[in-house]
């Protein structure tokens, strides 16, 4: 029996040595994400009980409950803390779950697929040792995050958010991270490979998210049977219950036991669920370069278009309550009502498209990045040995990325349009929203241009594009609140785009940015045409 765990300690240290930097970054980022915004939120609402109540009403509308989950608070107990937890806890749980699933699968099933596990197992290493090492790693990671987040909340010293509640809030999220790690562990045993293990884990996450939408609205008690429900059911900052955490902990232990049982009796490299046989021959539409590229990115593209639609819809669904909200909230009044020529929705829309466009940009950068990532993995070698020219390779990718940029933006526009139409008495027209959305497309193209130069000239440093994206995000998001020197803001291409409808449409800037994007794509092409292919 003991032999099954032989060398667990050593493997744990080995895993830690490989992951420490990644884990450190996560621990800091996730705890900042969890506990970082409390005092900012408190500042907005501290002297504004009416605004808080408006928020309470907004968050009680069915669309918001569907997205963020319910709150057990009444008008009397809806404090800043209660609101903070309500807005954060379910969404943060999703982030924790996604990170955990990715990591656990890559450290268990993926290694098995790659053959690393086989080598490790040939030593005097127990059958369950690697899994146990990952379990310990995930437990410690989430313990550290819970402690850091509690400390962070404590330091901010927001009145009404005391130590006990802060600890509960942080533990609840840490617990979610660990819980989903253990759920992923089960799928790592069941599935026939890392890809399907990941797919099944995410499917399960999505399933429970949608299931709780239904139960939260129709039968709130049903959410007790939902792992995601165990996050917000702690009713933190309202009635503080540890019961859901106890349940989640017990469930995690059960999941570990189940995955141990499954792993002990299965052959390495095999799973319990049969891999569905694929097609013996390719469909006609896959047999061209654009067709192949789209096929390879199918899931990625569909996932992003759906996510952009949902994000648009999320923003759109709060349009209906904005009038009440803004008339009662002092800060909102200051932010939005200074321009009486436009409705509050129009003003809000002009700002929120910055965010939606940045999301579309992430999608496009991720898609175009495949051009160089596939190259590094050696998967283009055989295609380069055919009559396909580099010219075609490059420009097909550019064209696909550009089209996807436009389609992505329209997906967000459509989500926004449909949602606001269902909640507003006099909804904005599709054309008004489209104008506000498509004005950002040149900026998205500009990102394609920058990445193409990197791909053409610095294929090993394409990651730089993410730094520029984070920079643009930072400037666009916080630029107005902070004093940022103008020359810095000027480096952000998004700052040149007119905010429709409150600013005027500028053909000059729009056409200029588009031409500039095209020009740098050509520069990238010159480099791409003459460089060596790279491999990892």
């Amino acid at each position: 029996m003991k032999n099954r765990f032989n060398m667990t300690g050593m493997l744990f240290l080995h895993t830690l040595r490989r992951d420490w930097l990644k884990l450190l970054i996560w621990a800091v980022a996730l705890s900042l994400f969890t506990g970082g915004f409390a005092s900012a939120m408190y500042k907005i609402y501290e002297k504004d009980p009416a605004g808080l109540m408006a928020m309470y009403e907004t968050l009680k509308n069915p669309a918001m409950i569907a997205m963020l989950g319910p709150t057990s608070a009444t008008a009397e107990t809806y404090t800043v803390g209660a609101m903070y937890a309500h807005e954060m806890i379910l969404f943060t749980s999703l982030v924790f779950a996604i990170v955990s699933i990715m990591h656990v699968i890559s450290r268990t099933r993926k290694e098995e697929d790659e053959g690393t596990t086989e080598l490790i197992r040939s030593f005097q290493v127990g059958r369950l040792a690697n899994t146990t090492a990952v379990v310990i790693e995930m437990f410690l990671l989430h313990l550290v995050i819970s402690v850091l987040s509690t400390g962070l909340l404590q330091v901010q010293g927001v009145p009404g958010m005391d130590f006990h509640s802060n600890l509960l809030y942080s533990s609840s999220l840490g617990m979610q991270g660990f819980l989903w790690a253990m759920i992923a562990l089960i799928f790592a045993q069941l599935a026939a490979g890392a890809g399907s293990a990941r797919g099944m884990s995410f499917f399960t996450l999505g399933f429970f998210y949608i299931l709780r939408m239904v139960t939260d609205m129709k039968a709130p008690d049903g959410s007790w049977f939902n792992p995601l429900g165990w996050s917000y059911l702690v009713n933190v900052y309202i009635s503080d219950s540890w019961l859901p955490i106890v349940i989640a902990f017990v469930a995690s232990i059960v999941f570990i036991a189940v995955s141990y049982l499954l792993e002990q009796v299965r052959d390495m490299g095999s799973g319990y669920l049969p891999e569905r046989a694929g097609h013996a021959h390719a469909k006609e539409r896959m047999l061209s370069l654009p067709g192949l590229v789209l096929r390879l990115q199918k899931i990625f593209i569909i996932g992003w278009l759906f996510a952009l639609f949902i994000c648009g819809a999320m923003y759109g669904s709060i349009f209906g309550d904005m009038d009440d909200f803004a008339s009662e909230n002092e800060i909102m009044k200051q932010m939005f009502l200074h321009n009486s020529d436009y409705t509050i929705q129009e003003q809000f829309m002009s700002v929120l498209f910055v965010i939606l466009s940045l999301l579309t940009t992430i999608f496009i950068v991720g898609s175009l990045m495949r051009l160089v990532n596939e190259e590094k993995k050696g998967r283009w070698d055989q295609l380069y040995a055919t009559k396909l020219s580099r010219t075609k390779f490059y420009w097909y990718h550019m064209i696909i990325a550009s089209i996807l940029g436009v389609v992505g933006q329209f997906s967000a526009i459509l989500g926004l349009y449909l949602a606001q139409r269902s909640v507003m008495e006099t909804p904005l027209s599709f054309w008004e929203i489209t104008k506000a959305g498509i004005v950002w497309i040149p900026a998205i193209f500009f990102f394609i241009g920058i990445l193409s130069v990197l791909i053409g000239w610095l294929p090993r440093f394409t990651m730089i594009i993410w730094a520029y994206l984070i920079f643009a995000f930072f400037i666009s998001y916080f630029g107005q609140m902070m004093e940022i020197p103008e020359f810095v803001t000027n480096l952000d291409v998004f700052s040149y785009i007119p905010k429709i409808p409150i600013e005027e449409w500028k053909w000059g800037a729009i056409i200029f940015i588009k031409l500039l994007a095209l020009f740098i794509m050509v520069i990238g092409f010159i480099g791409y045409k003459k460089r060596d292919l790279v491999s990892e």
């Binding site: 046989a277 192949l292 009559k387």
Partner: protein
């Protein structure tokens, strides 16, 4: 007719040279074996021939065209199997074969299905489940089913079992009979010995020997085994005899191929009753070039 002509090819990475001087020729209808140890520059040479990387000096032409500038024209007429076959994990083997064939420009479903059967590949499985050998089979099936004039194989059989290797050899012979030209880079010397008309040996980025097997052998030593009635003591003094071992009336030695005449004259007086001569294996040639023995 010359299919591929490579002269003084060089490749430098930063300042370290990967290829110093690669010179070789592939004629029409010929199988050229390209042998050398790991890291000698076989794959680098092939990648230059395919226009995937750019040479830093020398010339390389296929079908009389420059491999970098006219790569597309060249690629229309060739098929390639890389040493490391990397496939898209979420596509099936069958799908990938179809993609490769279409992009190469051939449509021949009957031939494809015949090869799938011969190589015993399950085309319905996702590529992520394939072993190295199965990934190689995917690339090999696509290449053999393609209609090309030049086939380039970069260590194509390193993951295949002996049965599959036999199928590979059969297919290469098949191509040869059709008058196709083949560049075969390989570690497996018996395979090269069996299939190749000519051989190029590369060491540390330099082709140090090219020629037919016979020509190469001529430069080196044959092994002789003689049985005589008297102990052939005199062999010790003969020029061109190496590694002589005399065991009673039996003697085994290596003989320089240009000294055969005088050696034979020297053993005749000992009354030869049996004489065997063994041409050096490619392995022996190879070892001689690499270890100096």
């Amino acid at each position: 007719m010359v299919i591929a002509e490579i002269k003084g090819l060089q490749k430098k990475y930063k300042s370290t040279p990967a290829l110093k001087n690669v010179t070789m020729k592939l004629k029409k209808g010929e199988v050229l074996g390209f042998i050398g140890p790991n890291g000698a520059g076989k794959s680098t040479t092939i990648r230059i021939l395919l226009g995937i990387i750019k040479s830093s000096g020398g010339t390389a032409k296929i079908f009389g065209k420059d491999v970098w500038k006219d790569s597309i024209e060249i690629h229309k007429r060739l098929a390639y199997v890389p040493g490391d076959v990397n496939l898209w994990p979420n596509l099936t083997g069958g799908e990938i074969i179809d993609v490769f064939m279409r992009l190469q420009g051939t449509k021949n479903d009957a031939r494809r299905d015949e090869l799938i059967q011969k190589f015993q590949l399950d085309p319905k499985k996702k590529a992520r489940t394939y072993s190295k050998g199965n990934r190689q089979k995917v690339a090999l099936i696509a290449a053999f089913a393609s209609d090309a004039e030049l086939y380039i194989f970069d260590e194509p059989t390193s993951g295949l079992d002996p049965l599959m290797e036999a199928v590979f050899q059969e297919q290469v012979e098949n191509l040869k009979n059709q008058g196709k030209s083949i560049l075969l880079s390989s570690h497996i010397l018996s395979e090269v010995e069996r299939l190749c008309d000519r051989v190029a040996i590369i060491r540390q980025g330099e082709v140090i020997e090219t020629g037919t097997l016979d020509e190469l052998r001529h430069l080196t030593q044959y092994q002789y085994k003689v049985t005589t009635r008297d102990v052939p003591i005199g062999l010790k003094q003969v020029r061109g005899v190496h590694d002589l071992v005399i065991n009673g009336k039996e003697a085994v030695f290596q003989a320089d191929s240009d000294q055969i005449e005088s050696i034979l004259e020297a053993i005749i007086p000992y009354h030869v009753t049996k004489l065997e001569s063994v041409p050096p294996t490619l392995e022996a040639l190879f070892m001689r070039h690499y270890t100096g023995k």
